[in-house]
Symmetry: C3
Subunit: 157 residues, 3 copies
C-alpha cells in the first residue's frame, strides 16, 4: 500500500465513522476501532489548559461496547437524529507505524419535529493503524469547541 | 482508470454538483446528470420508514430541466444565495459498473440582508457512472434530516 | 509529482490553512503563503457585482504578517475560538503552472461561555503554486456569503 492509498483509506475511515453514527449503526461503528483502543471526548478548552477530566473516557473497546449497550437499553435522552459534516482531513504518517488524523466537524441534531440545529462543533484527533490491510481507529480524541452542550451527550460524537 | 482515480473523480463530481448550484449555474448543473437519470429529495424519516412520497421527484433529465426552467421563469420564492458544505464522501464500487456515493452536507442560505442560517442538513446518496471517461450522476437521492424546512424549496439541494 | 499527488497536496494545504487558524498558530499560517502573495476577504455579493472595495486586502506577505502582529498586540475584539469546516474541494490545473482551488466552508465561533454559533459561510478561491515541492498559497480570495458579520473580523478567515 502506497502512502497515497493509505491516506485515502484513512479519510474513508473517518467518513465511515461518521456515517455509522448518523445511521444509528453503533454496533458496526465499534468495529472501526482496534481491539486495544481508547475513545475520549473532552472540551477543547480543558484539553488546551491540560485539565485532565474528560466528558467521556473509554480505555478499551469493551468499555466502548458497554456504552453502546447502555445507550440501547438504559439511557434516557432526547430523541434525535445525528448528522456529522466532517471537513477536509489532515493525515500524517507517524513514526511507530500508526497514522495521525485530524479533521474538523460540525454535528447537527434534528429533533422529532424535524428541526435541525448545530449540536456541537469540534475536531477529531485520531491515531489509526492498519490490521490485515484494514484501517482501524486506535485512539480517538474528540475535542469539543462547544463546552456548553445544549442537550445530553447520548449518541457518540 | 484506476479505482483511486475513479474515486477522486467522483468526489470532484460531488464538489462540482454543489458549486454549480451555489453559483446559480443550474443549466450547467444539469450537465452533471446522465441522460437517463433520477433526482429525488425526500425527508430522511420518510425514507427510513419506507414512506413513498418524496418532496421532489424527477424521473429523467427532461423533468429536471423543466424544474430549472420553472425556477428561472415562473416560481416565486424567497431571494437567497445557497452555500453547500459537503463533508468527506464514501465512494464504493458497485457490481453493475456504477459507483455509489454517500456524503453528508449542510446547506446554508443567506438572505438579501446578508444574514446566513442553516437551511437544511442531510445526506447525498448517489449512483454515478462514467461516460466517455467523465463521471455523471445517474441517480441522486437527497435525504433531508430537516423535515421542517424553514422556507420554500426553490433552488435544487 | 503526478496530477493526483498534486491535487492531494493542495487539498491538504487547504486543511492545514484552516487548522492553523483554528489552533491560533497564525505565525505558522503565514508560512503557507508564497512570498509574493495576496489575501483578500470580500462579500460575495460585492464580488459578483464587480464592486472593488474588499473588507480586508493584503497585497503581499509583509502586509499579512503586519495584520497578525496587530492582532497579537493591538486589536481589541471579542474573545473566541474559531472552527472551520472546509467542504470537498475542486482543484484544477491552470495554464501558468499555478493551480486553482475552490472550496466552501462554514466558520463557527465559540465564545468564552462555550457557546458555538455560525460566524460566516463562504468560499475559498485560491491560486496555489509549488515551491521546492511544497504547496503554497499565492492568491487567496475569501468570498463571504455572510455580509452581515455578527462580530469583528479579528482572526483571519
Amino acid at each position: 500500500m502506497t502512502d497515497a492509498e493509505a491516506k485515502a483509506a484513512l479519510a474513508e475511515l473517518l467518513a465511515e465513522y461518521a456515517e455509522r453514527i448518523d445511521d444509528d449503526r453503533l454496533e458496526d461503528w465499534l468495529e472501526l476501532f482496534a481491539s486495544e483502543c481508547s475513545y475520549c471526548v473532552t472540551p477543547r478548552e480543558n484539553h488546551d489548559l491540560g485539565l485532565p477530566q474528560p466528558l467521556i473516557l473509554c480505555e478499551n473497546r469493551a468499555m466502548l461496547a458497554d456504552r453502546v449497550v447502555a445507550y440501547r437499553n438504559a439511557n434516557i435522552y432526547n430523541i434525535h437524529r445525528d448528522r456529522h459534516v466532517v471537513g477536509l482531513p489532515l493525515v500524517r504518517k507517524g513514526e511507530d507505524g500508526a497514522w495521525s488524523l485530524a479533521a474538523s466537524f460540525a454535528l447537527y441534531q434534528t429533533d422529532s419535529e424535524g428541526r435541525t440545529s448545530l449540536f456541537v462543533a469540534g475536531q477529531y484527533r485520531a491515531a489509526a493503524i492498519f490490521a490485515a490491510g484494514r484501517p482501524l481507529v486506535r485512539d480517538m480524541l474528540v475535542l469539543l469547541d462547544t463546552a456548553a452542550i445544549p442537550a445530553l451527550l447520548a449518541t457518540p460524537v
